[in-house]
Symmetry: C2
Subunit: 362 residues, 2 copies
């Protein structure tokens, strides 16, 4: 079993990655003192898929887990759904020894994590991510939160999980589009931090696309290790952690402009990376050769066509990004494969040009 | 100006205490880089009282503060009110540089602090407490939160203020009962940690009751320093911080049993302290002489009569206390004036006896 250690001021935990790990969850929780009273937040569909694997091996001397179901989809990341979970925790008598297990994708992890962060001023929680995106990104780093009707992730907290359990075999049931969407984030890690990972994805692309277990396990381990390293150096996003936003400034704007749910998050990040590569090349910050290699890998994953968009609306949305401080727009751009830098974009015309050049605006 | 320093892992801030400090708030914020965009959460009544003092000296080169009003009273500590504040912050364009100033008593501080803790995963906030209870207790320590319809303070976070500004002259407008209610918490600090403070309250009781400025300023400084010391050693209530709950286990149960709002929090703590003193004396953990001295000071402050209560309902409520872990009921009891210890009460009959002996149950 691969173990990645996350070490933060006053907190440390492991990320475990192993195909078939789901059946070992009861024991893994017990060994770490996380089994007093377990509340599994999940969706009806996911519970149906993994209920047997999770509870089949539940030992008789451990209180059985209580399942708290929430509907699938982004709309569950709401204050109202958090409120319903609080009510159920209270009615079930959950005290400070309770452990919330988030069994699902990013929506479940963010929502359950937010509830764990704020119930009784914070109880422990464990991430059991069931999508590629959640296994390599959202389950790691302690960012939890819910949406507001005026914007995504505007309400939230930093609350580190006590354990992250990633079972790559759960990804075999993912829909094709979901799977490919997650791969854009994997490519992101290669570009921001590891030319070796980037080359691995290039060379094993077919095996990864077909979800061969050894290839995707290595992919998850490498990506998770990069994210763990970045957040260990910068938990609260004061500096380095910003590089994780490569592709995200424009990505978030595209998600908003296309209407949430139309474009997958990973797909939006894919387009956002094409923008950042274009911007970087035009400013002479990266070579044409590196830019071409990056573009080729992103396009090989298959980006969906965008609707007709105006650069004004994308710019307006970028300027509302919550990462912004004051008027300055900061962009993460690649300098070479495996390295990015943060630049301040005062000049709106260069952004428009890169939006056109990358094919986002026609 | 008296300054008390709070030093926590990864965070430090000051508590400033000075009569008339309110007029200096703009400058105090500016000197500490807390003036970029200021949102003052307060009630209409409190804003009316202090608007002039606060904004009269606001310099022209600082963006004027935005006032966000919430109704007075415990019912504002709700998820719904938090949601309304999020909406207003978003509509006003509050970004990560925004500072929330909580101008009010414990309700305002807890609510505004919770919103600051969870807006954009946490923005800075400043406590400007306007009640005695808030100046000596709730504004210090970073506990923020809201109520759930099934119980008080069940939803919350630890989020340290960037600054606490206590102006004792604001307390001159407090209603008599509010003032006396706060004094029970001051006596609590004496019993748990400082025989000198206890003796000071005993000897200057008339000056304190009549709110003579030198006496109440010293009272606030000493109490705030004790709380700052305790939380600096134990931010998240894993051990020492528990002593701050002296009088609170029964106190919370009495608030619930009498119906919230009937009994002031401080008054409930007053009765709770009488219970703990009685329990301690019966178990031989404190001397009769010390017990008598403590009882006399508490009773001199004037405790309101309780309605007829049954020990069963008080016990049931104590057992639901969120501080509980598993079945064990822990009580904070005085050993002598200035020192308390935490005992585990397995034996329910001793609790019943102390409830009767202290006059809570007739």
């Amino acid at each position: 079993m691969k173990s990645i250690r996350v070490t933060l001021p006053g907190h440390r935990h492991e990320i475990l990655v192993e195909p078939g790990l789901t059946g070992l969850i009861p024991k893994l929780l017990k060994d770490r003192g996380l089994s007093d009273s377990v509340f599994v937040v999940t969706s009806p569909r996911i519970q149906k898929l993994y209920h047997q694997a999770l509870t089949g091996a539940w030992p008789g001397d451990m209180p059985p887990p209580v399942f708290l179901q929430v509907p699938e989809g982004e709309s569950s990341k709401s204050l109202e759904m958090a409120s319903r979970l609080y009510t159920r925790l209270i009615r079930q008598g959950a005290d400070r020894s309770a452990v919330v297990v988030a069994l699902g994708g990013g929506v479940i992890g963010d929502l359950a994590g937010f509830v764990a962060a704020t119930y009784l001023r914070g109880i422990r929680f464990v991430q059991v991510p069931t999508t590629l995106l959640a296994q390599i990104d959202s389950s790691i780093g302690g960012k939890v939160g819910i949406n507001h009707e005026l914007g995504k992730n505007l309400i939230g907290a930093f609350h580190q999980p006590s354990l992250v359990l990633s079972d790559p075999s759960l990804l075999l049931t993912l829909a094709e589009r979901e799977w490919h969407s997650g791969l854009f984030e994997a490519v992101k890690y290669g570009i921001i931090s590891s030319s070796r990972l980037f080359a691995f994805i290039e060379s094993r692309l077919e095996a990864i696309r077909h979800r061969e277990m050894d290839a995707i396990t290595r992919l998850i381990v490498e990506c998770a290790a990069i994210k763990a390293r970045v957040i260990s150096k910068d938990e609260k996003e004061s500096g380095l952690r910003m590089i994780l936003n490569f592709g995200h400034t424009v990505g978030h704007a595209l998600e908003a402009a296309c209407g949430y749910g139309k474009l997958r998050h990973g797909e939006a990040v894919g387009w956002g990376m094409l923008f950042a590569i274009e911007y970087s090349e035009r400013k002479g910050l990266t070579s044409s050769r590196a830019a071409r290699r990056m573009r080729e890998l992103i396009c090989a994953l298959g980006l969906p066509r965008l609707p007709r968009l105006r650069s004004d609306e994308i710019l307006a949305s970028m300027e509302q990004d919550k990462k912004r401080r004051g008027r300055v727009l900061r962009l993460v751009v690649p300098s070479r494969i495996g390295r990015v830098s943060v630049v301040e974009a005062e000049d709106r015309e260069s952004i428009r040009a890169a939006l056109r050049g990358s094919g986002i605006v026609r």
